[in-house]
C-alpha cells in the first residue's frame, strides 16, 4: 500500500530535501573531486624541467635533463629540490699540439703503450683529441628557506654529484634581510665544497713523462666561498643587483687527462708531459645586474669582473631582451654574451725541452689561455597558463651558438708553422623547457 502525503507534509519534505542538497558534501565533491595524493602534490609544488643538448664542432656532445621542484609555504618559507643528469661522449682535446707528423696516444685507462687496449693516432695537422671520451654525471641539490622575521630569512642548502671519476658535496647557507619597505635586500652567503678525484687509469704524476705511465692514487680538493649581495628596487620598472664574492680552493686542481707537448730546440715534438697547476686558487668577483621592464618588454643586462690568484682576469657582459606578444601568450628572447679572459700565469701551449727540468707549473689547457668568446641565442616561450589552468606554466625552446677564439701570440717555431695550433671552439646548444 502506498501512502500519499498531504500538501503540508510534502512541503516539509521538499524543504528538508533542499536543505540537504545545499549542505550535502557529495554535491561539492562532484564539482571538485578529491585530487588524490599525487594531485595534491602537483597542486602544492611548482615544477620546472629542461632537456638540453650541447654539441661541439667535431668534439664533445652532451645531453642534460634537469628537473626542479619547489614549494612555497606561504609565510616566506620555501623548499626546492633539483636533479640533473649529464651524459657526455665524443672527442676531448688532450692538450698536445698539432704536428706535421702523425702522433700516437693511448686512452687514459692504459698502463703502457704495449698493453693499451685503445690506442689512437692523430693525423698530421689535426688537434690531438681523445676519441674515447665518455662520462656520466648525476647531481642532486636541495635548498630550504626559513623565514626568521617578516623581513629576514635563512637558507640552508646542499648538493651532491657523482661522476665516473669525480665525487662532490657542497653545503651552503645564506641570510637575507629586507630594508626600506622591501625595496632593498642585503644578503650574505657562504659555501663549502669537498671533492674526490678518481681519474680513469689512476692519477698521473704531475710533470711526469707521458710514456712512463707513472700513476698515483685518488686525489681531493676542498673549497670555501662567501658572497655578499645588495638588491635594490630603483623604480617601478628597474631593479639592480650587485654581488661581490670570494672563494678559495686547495688540493688537486690539475686536469688529470691533460698533457703538454715537449718541443726540441728546432720545434720538433720530443715527447709529452702531464700538466701541473698550483694547489691553491683564490678567486674574487664583482657582478652587477640590471633588469628593466615595460608592459610587453623586459631586458636584463649583467656585467661581471673576475680575477684569480692564477693571473686570470675576465670580463663578461650579457644582455637578454624579452619581447611579449600583445596578448602575452608568446615571447621571444634574443640574447648576446661577450666574454674575455687573460691567460693564467702558467699557461703555455708547449714546453721547451730545455725548460723541462726547471718548470714547476704548466698547462696547455685552452680554458686557461687568453681568449674571447661570443654567444648568440634566441628563446621562444609559450604561456600555458590558460590551457593548464595554472600560472607560471610555460613551454620554451632556446637555441644558442657559442664561439671561442684563442688569442695566443707566442712566436711559433719553424717546425710548427703552417699548422692551426689554436683552433678555438664552436658549439651549438638546444634546450627544451617545460614548467608547471
Amino acid at each position: 500500500m502506498q501512502l500519499k502525503p498531504g500538501a503540508a507534509q510534502l512541503r516539509r519534505r521538499l524543504i528538508a530535501a533542499s536543505c540537504a542538497l545545499l549542505s550535502t558534501p557529495p554535491a561539492r565533491s562532484q564539482e571538485n573531486p578529491d585530487p588524490g595524493l599525487v594531485g595534491r602534490f602537483l597542486q602544492a609544488w611548482q615544477f620546472e624541467s629542461a632537456l638540453a643538448y650541447y654539441h661541439e664542432d667535431g668534439r664533445i656532445q652532451a645531453v642534460e635533463p634537469v628537473v626542479s621542484a619547489s614549494h612555497d609555504y606561504g609565510d616566506g618559507g620555501n623548499v626546492s629540490l633539483n636533479f640533473t643528469f649529464d651524459a657526455l661522449s665524443g672527442s676531448s682535446p688532450n692538450g698536445a699540439l698539432p704536428s706535421h707528423a702523425p702522433q700516437t696516444f693511448t686512452a687514459a685507462s692504459a698502463k703502457s703503450f704495449a698493453s693499451a687496449r685503445r690506442v689512437y693516432t692523430t693525423a698530421p695537422g689535426n688537434l690531438p683529441v681523445d676519441p674515447n671520451f665518455s662520462d656520466g654525471r648525476a647531481a642532486f641539490g636541495a635548498d630550504w628557506t626559513l623565514p626568521l622575521t617578516r623581513l629576514s630569512r635563512f637558507t640552508l642548502g646542499g648538493k651532491a654529484s657523482i661522476e665516473d671519476d669525480f665525487y662532490s658535496t657542497t653545503v651552503n647557507i645564506a641570510f637575507a634581510h629586507d630594508f626600506n619597505n622591501k625595496n632593498t635586500t642585503v644578503s650574505f652567503g657562504a659555501d663549502a665544497e669537498g671533492d674526490i678525484i678518481h681519474p680513469v687509469g689512476k692519477t698521473p704524476v704531475p710533470l711526469s713523462d707521458y710514456a712512463a705511465f707513472s700513476r698515483e692514487g685518488d686525489k681531493s680538493k676542498t673549497g670555501a666561498g662567501a658572497l655578499f649581495g645588495v638588491t635594490q628596487v630603483m623604480t617601478r620598472n628597474w631593479l639592480t643587483q650587485l654581488n661581490v664574492s670570494v672563494d678559495r680552493f686547495t688540493g688537486y686542481l690539475n686536469d688529470p687527462y691533460k698533457i703538454v707537448t715537449v718541443l726540441a730546440a728546432g720545434g720538433d715534438t720530443a715527447g709529452y708531459e702531464y700538466e701541473n697547476r698550483p694547489d691553491s686558487r683564490t678567486r674574487k668577483s664583482a657582478y652587477l645586474e640590471n633588469r628593466v621592464g615595460g608592459a610587453h618588454v623586459s631586458a636584463d643586462l649583467s656585467l661581471r669582473y673576475m680575477t684569480d690568484s692564477w693571473g686570470i682576469r675576465s670580463q663578461t657582459a650579457q644582455i637578454r631582451m624579452r619581447l611579449w606578444s600583445p596578448s602575452r601568450q608568446h615571447y621571444i628572447e634574443p640574447t648576446t654574451r661577450w666574454y674575455h679572459q687573460s691567460a693564467a700565469d702558467f699557461f703555455n701551449p708547449w714546453l721547451a725541452a730545455a725548460d723541462a727540468g726547471s718548470t714547476r707549473y704548466i698547462s696547455s689547457d685552452p680554458r686557461l689561455a687568453t681568449f674571447h668568446a661570443l654567444t648568440y641565442g634566441l628563446k621562444y616561450g609559450y604561456d600555458l597558463g590558460d590551457r593548464l589552468h595554472r600560472s607560471n606554466s610555460e613551454f620554451t625552446v632556446r637555441v644558442e651558438y657559442y664561439r671561442q677564439t684563442l688569442e695566443v701570440d707566442k712566436p711559433v717555431p719553424v717546425a710548427l708553422q703552417g699548422l692551426d695550433l689554436y683552433p678555438g671552439l664552436k658549439a651549438v646548444f638546444v634546450q627544451f623547457g617545460f614548467s608547471y
Binding site: E48, K159, V186, V233, D247, Y402
Partner: protein, 74 residues
C-alpha cells in the same frame, strides 16, 4: 691601510643604504617587478645550465650565485 679600506667600505655601504631609502616603490607599484622575468636569478634553469656550460669551457665562473663547482669538468 687595511683598516682604512674596511672603514671606507663600511662608510660607503652605510651611505649607500641611506641613499637607497629614497629609492624604490610603494607596494601597489610592484606590478611589473613581480613578474618572473623581473626577478633576480629569474631565469632559473636557463642560468643553471648556462653556468654549467661556461664553467666547463672557461676559466671563470660564478658571480651571480656561488661559483659553479660540483663538476669534474674543469
Amino acid at each position: 691601510m687595511k683598516r682604512l679600506t674596511i672603514l671606507t667600505v663600511l662608510t660607503l655601504g652605510c651611505a649607500a643604504l641611506t641613499g637607497c631609502s629614497s629609492l624604490g616603490v610603494k607596494p601597489w607599484q610592484r606590478d611589473i617587478l613581480s613578474r618572473s622575468d623581473m626577478r633576480p636569478n629569474g631565469a632559473g634553469l636557463d642560468d643553471a645550465i648556462d653556468e654549467h656550460v661556461y664553467f666547463s669551457k672557461e676559466g671563470s665562473s660564478g658571480g651571480r650565485t656561488f661559483g659553479g663547482g660540483g663538476c669534474g669538468c674543469n
